[in-house]
Amino acid sequence: MLAASHLTRRFGERVAVDDVSFELAPGEIFALLGPNGAGKTTTMRMLAGLIAPSSGTVRLGAEVVSRHSAPRLRGRIGLLGETPGLWDRLSVRRNLLVYARLHGLADPAAAVDEALERFGLRDRGGEPAAQLSKGLKQRVALARTLLHRPDILLLDEPTAGLDPESARDLRELVLRLRGERRTIVLSTHNLDEVERVADRVAVMRARLLAVDAPAALHARLYGPRLRVTIGQPAAPFLGVLAKAGFRDVQAQDRTLSIAVGEHAAATPAIVRRLVEEGADVLSVMPEQARLEDVYLHLVGREDAQ
């Protein structure tokens, strides 16, 4: 659907994006993570055909995004920037109507009515954009981004500054759009949001540090782990598990975190050893991947280098 191949963008001496490649499938939510200045927005703009790469290509379907093809291909892409970018003096309806016409929709007024209805803005259509709250402005901006029903959605920090309720609404909308087989690229600092919605995550700092599903990234960096909760303090059982051949074991209060080769195979042996040593095993479960750990590990490692 959308593919970036060896994308590089220089601004003078500074390399903002360095040899970034990935390929996105229809209906996939792909998150770009990285610290400020990591090149996320520049990557988004190259994907949208707004700025040209210094080298490398962006391909939308079978077509390469170029200076010549970009105006036409932009009709298949919806970009939501860091700010809503509404014309404050114009009404919500008028804001959307201009974009419906810019995209050459057959019936702009009907498309705007539908968008207002879909985004719960029907009663606010006549209000000047300046009078809306930040959350509502972002909702209008998203309605504008989706007016022409793009195949690809590029959302640059869409929940920044939103209250939790508005952020949740937006996440739910993103998930609905995935259901409509739209490909979504999400740039954000909100790791919790990424864990909830993203199919794959790219951690970048000018170059791609890692690309994979959140759980797979965690497994790749730390390997699979089991989390065992027992009825006693966990620390005395570290030695027992070490003797049983588990080298990477961490204890905290009544919980043991154990690196294992494979969850199913390791569980009976661990439970047996702990019970033999008098532990009351309360629960055993695969340890949930924490994206924050992965992210900080990757970015920290890059800093160290």
Binding site: F11, T42, R45, A48, L50, I51, A52, P71, R72, R74, G75, I77, G78, L79, L80, G81, T83, G85, L86, W87, D88, R89, L90, R94, V98, Y99, R101, L102, H103, G104, P128, A141, R144, T145
Partner: protein
């Protein structure tokens, strides 16, 4: 074309809600209109003197004696007609000022409101974007020209000597108002658009656009001094020159409007 019209509609709707932008043009228009009435009607009435008795306006009488269709004018009406004719050049300042003010704001305003990125993310081309911006400033400027000229003529008909009104309705007057005025306004606003593509402050764009005011003022001074008369051939040549300048400015405007710089350097 449809995309340009869509954006033009937005420009005009936005202007209707931002009337303060018209203030410089309205001030210029009022000043340009009142000045000749003060010189030709108010001051002589207050002083109790007739302009045609003063040697200062001998040039006006002489000029009108050379015009066969105006020979029948009374001397006072001839002098007034001459004054109103000369000051007509200043009316050109109305559309020029209005266009500059609107055009300088139209791009910098998009930058300041951070509304340009979503606009550039549509299929809109640079030519369509600039075309809408230019027309969005030119259309109201032309409206101001028509309104100002109408008021000017109405004032002359109401307050000047009989015959002065008809003497003012010459091809030269209409040429200055409806040919030179719009072309000068177009040049000014294109200059403003060019500059506003590269700056973040509308005042910078307005200051550069103000360069167009200088030649207009120079023509006015030369006319008043009797050194130059903006007649038929001069108007045609000036119109051709301005048209050439405008075509050049369209090309420069497109070249200067660098989408990438706008997105990556504007903060």
């Amino acid at each position: 074309m449809n995309r340009m019209l869509a954006l033009l509609g937005k420009e005009l709707a936005d202007l209707r809600r931002n009337r303060a932008l018209f203030l410089p043009a309205i001030i210029a228009g009022v000043f340009s209109m009142l000045l000749p009435f003060a010189v030709a009607v108010v001051v002589p009435a207050l002083a109790g003197e007739r302009l045609s008795d003063s040697n200062d306006f001998a040039i006006a009488l002489e000029m009108y004696r050379d015009e066969p269709r105006l020979r029948r004018l009374e001397p006072e009406a001839a002098v007034q007609a001459w004054i109103f004719q000369q000051f007509l050049v200043l009316l050109v300042l109305t559309p020029v000022t209005g266009a500059m003010s609107i055009a300088a704001y139209s791009i910098v305003g998009e930058k300041q409101g951070r509304t340009l990125e979503p606009l550039l993310a549509t299929p809109l081309t640079t030519l369509e974007l600039l075309g809408a911006k230019v027309l969005g400033a030119l259309v109201p400027a032309l409206g101001l020209t028509v309104a100002t000229f109408g008021l000017y003529l109405a004032g002359v008909a109401a307050f000047a000597e009989s015959g002065a009104f008809r003497a003012l309705l010459t091809p030269a007057s209409l040429g200055v108002t409806f040919l030179i005025g719009p072309l000068a306004a177009l040049a000014a606003l294109q200059l403003a658009v060019c500059v506003s593509s590269r700056v973040n402050d509308p005042r910078s764009a307005q200051q550069i656009g103000a360069l167009v005011v200088l030649p207009v003022t120079a023509v006015f001074v030369l006319q008043i001094a009797g050194m130059f008369q903006l007649g038929g051939p001069a108007i045609v040549w000036l119109a051709v020159a301005l048209a050439g300048v405008n075509i050049g400015l369209i090309l420069v405007g497109i070249a200067l409007f660098d989408r990438e710089s706008i997105l990556t350097r504007w903060k």
